[in-house]
């Protein structure tokens, strides 16, 4: 009785409207919402458990591979890795660079064109490589306030691109563009819409401190494998694997 009176006092106008629907709203609050949260939490724990677990069975298919390029030394390092990747295993290849980065996709095209010239027929035909631009989350020097809006736009674009590309492997080495893409891929994993293995290789220029992208992917457990090139970083980030300098 007393509780009834308190409610009436507190929500005077609202109480009258909700009189008939009181039980339904209670139902939503007490049952469906907690169940929803529990499902998300359980699914998140499942995903975080299986992330970083290597594939035990022997693989023979080819994997749709997303390669994230970036300005500065990022593209040079990434293309050095792509050069050594087995082209029949990691195909089709999708290259993504920020919209304001004009050089990176061109360099990737040069690499892919040289591969077409090298490869003879006799290999099985796979989809051709694609070169895609994505909205940039943040320009160098952009204010942090406007960066929030641009990052959300970049994230929306990343979700769309992830949906279109359906990558099974993502390789990135630190430019800001990789965060929306890796987050989007992780969200897809979370809702069960597709599983991609994310490989992060910290840039050779990072000797003592990881980059912001690296830090986020490491701490939030978004990457399946986290590689560093210098021993100082491996000591600081124990879950990282030392791969030595790749340049």
């Amino acid at each position: 009785m007393q509780l009834f009176l308190v409610l009436q006092e507190g929500k005077r106008g609202v109480f009258i409207n909700l009189k008939g629907m009181g039980k339904v709203n209670d139902g939503i609050l007490c049952f469906i919402f907690p169940i929803f949260v529990t499902i998300i939490v359980v699914r998140l724990m499942y995903v975080l458990y299986w992330v970083r677990k290597p594939n035990r069975s022997l693989r023979t298919d080819n994997l749709r591979t997303l390669i994230v390029l970036g300005s500065g030394g990022h593209t040079a390092e990434m293309l050095r890795i792509v050069n050594v990747l087995q082209k029949d295993r990691f195909a089709p290849r999708f290259y993504i660079a920020a919209a304001t980065d004009s050089m990176s996709l061109q360099k990737a095209k040069v690499l892919e064109d040289s591969l077409i010239q090298q490869e003879n027929s006799g290999r099985k035909m796979v989809e051709a490589s694609q070169f895609i631009q994505i909205y940039r989350s943040r320009e160098v020097g952009q204010s942090y306030v406007t960066s929030i809006a641009t990052t959300l736009i970049a994230l929306a674009h990343a979700v769309w691109l992830t949906f279109r590309i359906r990558p099974q492997v993502i390789i990135c080495n630190g430019p800001g563009t990789c965060i929306p893409l890796c987050t989007s891929a992780f969200l897809f994993k979370l809702v069960g819409l597709g599983w991609s293995n994310i490989f992060y290789v910290e840039s050779i220029a990072r000797v003592r401190k990881v980059s912001l992208s690296g830090l986020l992917l490491y701490k939030l457990l978004l990457a399946d494998q986290f590689y560093v090139q210098w021993p100082q970083l491996q000591k600081k980030y124990p879950r990282a694997q030392l791969v030595g300098c790749l340049m």
């Binding site: 290597p54 594939n55 035990r56 069975s57 022997l58 693989r59 994997l63 500065g72 030394g73 040079a76 390092e77 050095r80 890795i81 050069n83 050594v84 990747l85 087995q86 295993r89 492997v169 390789i171 293995n197 490989f199 290789v201 840039s203 050779i204 220029a205 990072r206 000797v207 003592r208 401190k209 980059s211 399946d224 494998q225 590689y227 090139q229 210098w230 694997q241 791969v243 030595g244 300098c245 790749l246 340049m247």
Partner: protein, 178 residues
């Protein structure tokens, strides 16, 4: 013993590069009288400056009354040819420039741009300097570095390989070992 018109002097070129950045402090320092004299004393005859997006323009000079000939340009699609024909390279701290130079086996002085915020570039230059693969200087110290550097102490850089990364990626995905 040669019949070349320049009095038989061997030309030794110093190439200064700032990549795609704006690094007036380095271009100014390289174009300063003290640095040019220091380079000339060490036996260099030509100075070529790639000035990037900077606003300071060096003065083109031919040799008669100056220590070195000086020439410059803003950008080039590839600086590989300049790097190959240079005897000494003075570069900003970008990893691309650094490794392109080291892989050619050239002597390198890296100058860090102190005006850049978040100067993560200096970590790489410092580490490689500690391993004696290059010399590392601030723009104000360029002259002194040139005067005192002993190129014999530089250790050649052995290029790294992306193969370990690729092997680990393959292993994780379950592909058979090559």
């Amino acid at each position: 013993m040669d019949g070349a018109g320049n009095g038989g002097r061997i030309r030794k070129m110093v190439f200064v590069t700032v990549g795609t950045t704006c690094f007036d402090a380095l271009v100014k320092a390289a174009d300063s009288r003290q640095v040019k004299e220091a380079l000339s004393k060490r036996g260099y005859t030509d100075l070529m400056i790639q000035m990037g997006r900077g606003s300071y323009v060096p003065s083109k000079v031919s040799e008669e009354d100056e220590p070195l000939t000086v020439d410059y340009f803003a950008f080039s699609p590839s600086i590989a040819d300049y790097l190959k024909s240079a005897s000494l390279i003075i570069s900003h701290a970008g990893s691309g420039s650094i490794f392109e130079t080291l892989q050619l086996g050239k002597s390198l002085i890296v100058v860090v741009n102190e005006d850049l915020m978040d100067n993560h570039q200096s970590e790489l230059a410092e580490e490689l300097a500690e391993r004696k693969h290059l010399f590392y200087a601030r723009p104000q110290m360029l002259q002194q570095t040139i005067e005192t550097m002993d190129l014999e102490t530089l250790v050649p850089y052995v290029p790294g390989s992306p193969k370990p990364v690729v092997d680990l990626i393959n292993k994780f995905l379950g592909f058979p070992a090559d």
